[in-house]
């Protein structure tokens, strides 16, 4: 059973069972593969190098759209223009944090330096945003409904399983953020 992250003399420490590490690794990998930009044959390598993507489009997948939202609420054209300049590096930054968190799972001891903690908190957040879209969490009532599912013996279908995974990552992120807030006070 995982232990909550806490802030102490060694920094932020946590404990995860091997099965929990495997679960998180696969969740991080799933979100990484969602975020990886598709390779295009006719892509300008220099443009790619500086992060430009003239072909960038607003994602059709809702979860991906939540990870890479429009920058303006009521101006799709300006949002698209902005996306062409920024989306590639945003994807790469998110992938970087997810990879760093996944790598951290390979170590025996979970001791997070400040940079590790930031990578973990954003990685867990992105995982939760994706799971929440798959679970159709649209408002606080939906979230509360999912939150009530705590018993692993109840997980009879995919949705039930996803709900429990969501609750586990929520609990883990909350304990991490509390430890990070404690470290701000120190």
């Amino acid at each position: 059973m995982a232990k909550a992250f806490k802030y102490g003399l060694k920094g932020i420490t946590g404990y995860l069972e091997p099965s929990e590490r495997d679960l998180l690794r696969s969740l991080f990998d799933d979100v990484i593969s969602m975020l990886e930009p598709e390779e295009r044959a006719n892509q300008d390598p220099l443009a790619a190098l500086v992060g430009l993507d003239a072909e960038a489009r607003e994602p059709s997948d809702r979860a991906l759209k939540r990870l890479l939202p429009n920058v303006m609420k009521d101006d799709d054209e300006a949002s698209l223009e902005f996306r062409r300049y920024t989306e590639r590096s945003l994807r790469e930054n998110k992938i970087g944090a997810l990879r760093a968190a996944a790598l951290g799972l390979d170590k025996d001891e979970l001791v997070l330096a400040p940079a590790d903690a930031r990578h973990w908190s954003t990685a867990l957040n992105d995982v939760r945003l994706v799971l929440a879209e798959r679970l159709d969490i649209r408002d606080d009532a939906d979230a509360e409904h999912v939150h009530r599912m705590q018993d692993w013996s109840q997980a009879e279908d995919v949705e039930g399983y996803l709900a429990l995974v969501y609750n586990f990552t929520t609990w883990l992120q909350e304990s991490l953020v509390q430890a990070m807030l404690a470290s701000l006070e120190a």
């Binding site: 992060g51 920058v71 609420k73 920024t86 998110k94 944090a97 969490i137 953020v177 807030l181």
Partner: protein
């Protein structure tokens, strides 16, 4: 934008980035833009507050006030500045997974949403 700008190489430095750019905001002559954070049922209140504190360098009280405004009113203006500045903040917020948009400041009622400042942080610099 690099990882270090979007996510902050460490709390101290990202605080300085936020503080530095918002200091510029105060003297910027151009039309102000707002950075808006929208409520969603997923992001943890503690996390949103943490992001406001570590990225913008806001005090605990100010970060919590803005976070609660997002939670209760559905949105909050958490910073303003030039278009470029708030766009940069928006990308950083997207990096954290917060739902952020930019909009032209209307100057009318409600645009200031009481006490949401121009991004003056805790003043950790110098």
């Amino acid at each position: 934008m690099t990882l270090s700008v979007a996510l902050g190489p460490d709390t101290q430095e990202s605080t300085q980035t936020g503080t530095a750019s918002s200091t510029d905001v105060l003297t910027a002559p151009d039309i102000p833009w707002n950075l808006v954070i929208w409520n969603d049922p997923v992001n943890l209140m503690s996390y949103v507050s943490y992001v406001f504190r570590s990225y913008f360098g806001y005090s605990e009280a100010k970060a919590n006030k803005l976070m609660l405004e997002v939670h209760k009113k559905g949105r909050s203006i958490v910073a303003h500045g030039s278009k470029e500045q708030v766009e940069q903040h928006a990308v950083a917020m997207h990096g954290y997974g917060l739902w952020a948009t930019v909009e032209k400041a209307s100057g009318g009622p409600g645009s200031g949403s009481g006490g949401t400042g121009s991004g003056r942080g805790k003043g950790k610099r110098g």
